[in-house]
Amino acid sequence: MRMLINVPETVVADGLRGLAAAHPDLVVDVDNRVVVRRDAPVAGKVGLVSGGGSGHEPLHAGFVGPGMLSAACPGEVFTSPVPDQMVRAAAAVDSGAGVLFVVKNYTGDVLNFDMAAELAEDEGVQVARVLVDDDVAVSDSTFTAGRRGTGATLFVEKIAGALADEGAPLERVEAMARRVNESARSFGVALSSVTTPAKGTPTFDLPSGELELGIGIHGEPGRERRPMMTSGEIADIAVHAVLEDLRPVGPVLVLVNGMGATPLLELYGFNAEVQRVLSERGVTVARTLVGNYVTSLDMAGCSVTLCQVDEEMVRLWDAPVQTPALRWGR
C-alpha cells in the first residue's frame, strides 16, 4: 500500500487539520467534523449545508465559502456523516433564514440527513432538503436505491449557493437547487479500482486493459466492463448516455471530472472529445469546468456531467465564489 497517511484511523482528522492550516477563512472543527465559513451565520442569508463520506475531496469541504456552501460535514471515508454533525452545522450557519441540506442520493446520506433535519427543527431551525440524483448509469430505480448523486452536486451547490448569497428566501433557494438537479445528468468511467485506507487493497479487481462503465464514486462496480478504449470512444459512450436521458433543448454546463488519479492532461484531452461529441449532436456549451472535483480516492477515470441552463442559472454560475477548490470573480 502506497499512501501518504499515518494510520487509517486518523486519515479524516489529519486531512481536516491540514485543511484548517491552509484555509484560515474556514472554521474547521476537527473533533466534531464540521467545516464552516468563518463569517457564518451571515445575516438574512439561507445557510447551505452539505456533506457525505470523505474520500471525495474537494467535495464537500472544499466548496465551503462565500458564493457556495455555508458548511460541510465530512463523514468517515465513504461513510455518510452522522446527524450530530449536520445539526451542529445547521446551528452554526442559521441566521434565522433557514438552512438547505444538499444530500446525495445514497441510503446512508439520506437517512442521516433526514434524522438531522428532524433534530434541527426541534431546535428551531427551519430546514429544507434537496436530493441530488443525477447518475444515468442507474436506470431501474424500482429495483435499486435510486439514481446516485455524483457530479451534479457541484452544480447544485454553486448555483444555489450564489442565489442564497443574493439573499433569496429558503423556498427559492430550494426550488433552484431542485431545478439544477432535475436539469443535470452524469455518467462515470473507471480505469482502475479504488483503495480505501481501511482495507488497504483495491476494492474491486479491474485488470489493466479493461475499464468499467457507469461507476459511482465509492468504488462500486458499474454497469458493464469492456476492453480499454480511446478517450474519444469513451467520450462517445459517456456523452451519449447522458444526452439520451437529458435531451437538452438549450445550452449546457459541462463538468469533466477526474476521479482522483487521472492527470489533468488526460482530462483536458478527454474534454476535447466531450466537446466534439456535443458539437456533433448540436448541443451548445455555455460553460465548461475541468478538474478533480468529485473524486473517489485514488481511482483513475472520469465522469461527465451536463446541466441544461437558462440565463439565470448561467448568471448564478458566473457569480463570484471563494472556496478552497472553486474560486473566481472576486
Binding site: 463520506g53 465513504f78 452522522v82 441510503t107 446512508g108 442521516n112 436505491a145 481501511a198
Partner: protein, 205 residues
Amino acid sequence: MLDTDFFRRWMAATAAAVDREADRLTELDAAIGDADHGSNMRRGFAAVNDVLGKEAPRTPGTVLTLAGRHLISTVGGASGPLYGTLLRRTGKALGDATEVTPDQLADALGAGVAAVTQLGGAQAGDKTMLDALLPAVEVLGTSFEAARDAALAGALGTVPLRARKGRASYLGERSIGHQDPGAASSALLVGALAEAAGPTEGGGE
C-alpha cells in the same frame, strides 16, 4: 425474567462479536458495498460499551435507547440510523419495566424491526438486515438459540438474492452470490442474546 444486567451483557456480547468479526463484515461489504461495514460497526459498538459503562442505565429500555442513540451518533452510513433505530425503538417498546419476559422482548424487538422496515423502506427478500431479523423475531419467543439459528439461516439465505436496497442494489445481478453484510451483523446481534443468557440458562428463562 430478563433484568437490566442481561441487556448490558447483550450489548457487551454484541460489541465483542462485532469486534471479533469486523474483518469478515468488511470483506462481505467489499464484495457488494464499499468495504467499511466492519469498521463502522466496531466503532459504534465500542462507543455503546463506553457509554453503558459511564452512565449505568437502570432499566432494560434505557440500556437499549442509550445504545441506539450512540449508534446513530457514531456509526454513520446507512447502518447508523438503521441499527440505532432498531435498538432505540426496541428500548422504547420495553417501557419503564425493570425486568421483562422473553416474550416481551420478542414483541419489543418486533416493534424495533418494524421501525427499521419503515425507515429503510425494505422488505423481506431485498437482501438487507431484515432478512436476518424478521425470521429471528418470529421464533424469539421460543428460545434465544432458535432466534440465533433463524438469523444465521436468514443471513446465509441472502447469498442467492439480488439486492434491491442500499449500495449493493447498484450491482444488480452482480450482487447475487454474496452474503449481505447487514444481515451478517444482524445475526451477530441476535446471536449475542443467547450468549448474554449464558450457557446454563438455555432458552433465556
